[in-house]
Amino acid sequence: MSATTETPKRAGTPTPRKPVRRKLTLGQRLKRDRVMLLLALPGLLYFLVFHYVPLLGNVIAFQDYQPYLGFFDSVWVGLENFTDAFADPQFWSALGNTLLIALAQLILFFPAPIALALLLNSVISDKIRRFVQSVVYLPHFVGWVLIVSIFQQLLGAAGLLPNVLEAVGLPRYDMMTDPGAFPWLLTIQLVWKDMGWGTIIFLAALLAIDQQLYEAAAVDGAGRWRRLWHVTLPGITPIIILLFILNLGSILSVGFEQILLQRDNVGAESGEVLDTYIFFNGIQNGEWGPSAAIGIVKAVVGTALLLGANKIAHYFGHEGIYRGADK
């Protein structure tokens, strides 16, 4: 009762509100933030011009784009570019090659950093682990031109492998120009370049696993392999799924520079992938519209795969990408 009688009394006195920050008007806030906004402005402009304007540039996929007419005066052709692109047997061949290479990399490259990370994580000596890490991270910083040059010396016609084969009495074999071996060649190069680098994210996840879980498992009598299976792997499953989904999203863009540099070694029939097809057909042959159309198809399929895989991950009770990404 006493509380209710007191309330009207209070209302009469000048409201003793807590000294919360006064809400600033837009003008005042702009004045306060003007230096910060000016600093961020060039960056904003950069992203708008070089990332968002090209997105709009994709309208040429629906035009008979002619460079001398530009975006505004080229004739609109509806979906003709898409039907043209799909009617080109080279497109289907490039799609097939892309999927083959992506599959090879998914099966052979994707697990490699996980295995190496598990191995490194089990090394007790800090010194040895640091040393191995500093060696295997290095190739990530070497550009593709250099890597292909180095492989040319190792596996190319006059390189190490053919000479070794000859020395032991086998026929010379040039892997760099063997169309059938192209997906394997690309995968070997990718493993060499990025297997070490790929371990970073898994090592971080492994470090985050609670050590008490291992101790509890050991007390319960779990051996080395059971601990690996029941503690370590579940600990890094979310990150494996995350990376797998991201990988699926980019399944139609297999190493562009890497393939561009080596496509002519094996010929277009097995060396052409979607990205190189877009490049040669579009920029070199001036088939702007159809190439941009394929670019759009690629992006749409990639996004659909990404979202689909994410949905499946959610269905099985995993975090997938976006729930985990904004932590």
Binding site: F50, L55, L119, L138, G143, V145, G282, G295
Partner: protein, 288 residues
């Protein structure tokens, strides 16, 4: 827990040794070949592991002022100017957006982050560079990739993690936003700024596709373009770069010498970069 078994340790040791050798061997072999004579290269079947009579002839040829020297200067120029431009732009944007509750800050941040999800594709990007009149300029190698969203996130998350009290104490003393940037934020951020600059520098140094697309004047060629011509397309060096001594160095030694030249800057900055990864400085940012 139980002690590791001896055969487990041996197996681990063997696997790690094989991996380390497989990664390191090509680097060693490339350097060794570049120092070798013709005879030795033939005797060793392409790649030499340890040159018995090392010679710098290959380097003398490529440093004689021909196209490789030229390309080296171009590449260094692009890397230095590009890194400086990228760093300034990224620091400005990251610092600008590091204030919580910045008017319009969320919008600008979303613009930057969403750009990572969508890639416009090769054709529209090419047409944009063309429309902007950047064809055949070094700017075409720098501007399209001026700010990497990833590096921006790394720097911004570091800037926002600087304790507010530090910044507030300076503001109370009358320091403006720019003074805070130069007197407090930048001195505290040396490590992440170093990492980001090295990332940019390595990126510019390795940049191949943009150089191939946008440069057509041979005098402007960068090292990756020359490498492709010399090693992958097997073109010999242009005339007038012949060796003045008795026997010219072998083609393979010259090729590998160019590879070494292109590798050296990466090998030089790598120890600095590497320190940060093994310490795990960046992993927080990667996960965040």
């Amino acid at each position: 827990m139980e002690r590791p078994t001896w055969h487990g340790l041996t197996l681990k040791g063997i696997v790690l040794t094989v991996i380390v050798i497989a990664v390191a061997y090509p680097f060693v072999a490339v350097v060794a070949t570049s120092l070798s004579t013709d005879k030795e290269i033939i005797a060793n079947g392409g790649l030499v592991l340890w040159p018995t009579e090392p010679t710098l002839d290959a380097y003398r040829v490529i440093f004689a002022g021909g196209q490789v020297t030229h390309a080296l200067v171009n590449s260094l120029g692009v890397a230095v100017v590009g890194t400086a431009a990228s760093l300034v732009a990224t620091v400005m944007m990251a610092y600008g957006l590091s204030r919580r509750g910045l008017t319009g800050g969320r919008f600008i941040l979303m613009v930057a982050l969403l750009s990572m999800l969508f890639n416009a594709g090769t054709i529209p990007n090419f047409l944009l560079v063309k429309e902007l009149g950047l064809m055949g300029t070094f700017a075409a190698l720098v501007l399209p990739g001026l700010i990497s969203a990833f590096n921006f996130i790394v720097l911004r998350s570091f800037f926002t993690s600087i304790p507010r009290e530090l910044i507030d104490s300076a503001t109370v003393d009358g320091a403006g936003d720019l003074r805070v940037l130069f007197k407090i934020v930048l001195p505290l951020s040396k490590a992440p700024i170093a990492v980001v600059s090295l990332f940019y520098a390595v990126g510019y140094w390795n940049s191949f596709f943009n150089a191939m697309l946008y440069l057509d004047d041979r005098d402007m060629y960068t090292l990756p373009l020359i490498l492709r011509q010399l090693v992958l397309m097997g073109q010999p060096l242009a005339k007038g770069e012949a060796f003045l001594g008795e026997t010219p160095p072998p083609q393979q030694a010259i090729q590998m010498a160019v590879v070494v030249i292109a590798l050296v800057p990466i090998l030089l900055v790598y120890p600095f970069l590497q320190r940060f990864f093994t310490k795990g400085v960046l992993t927080g940012a990667i996960k965040g």
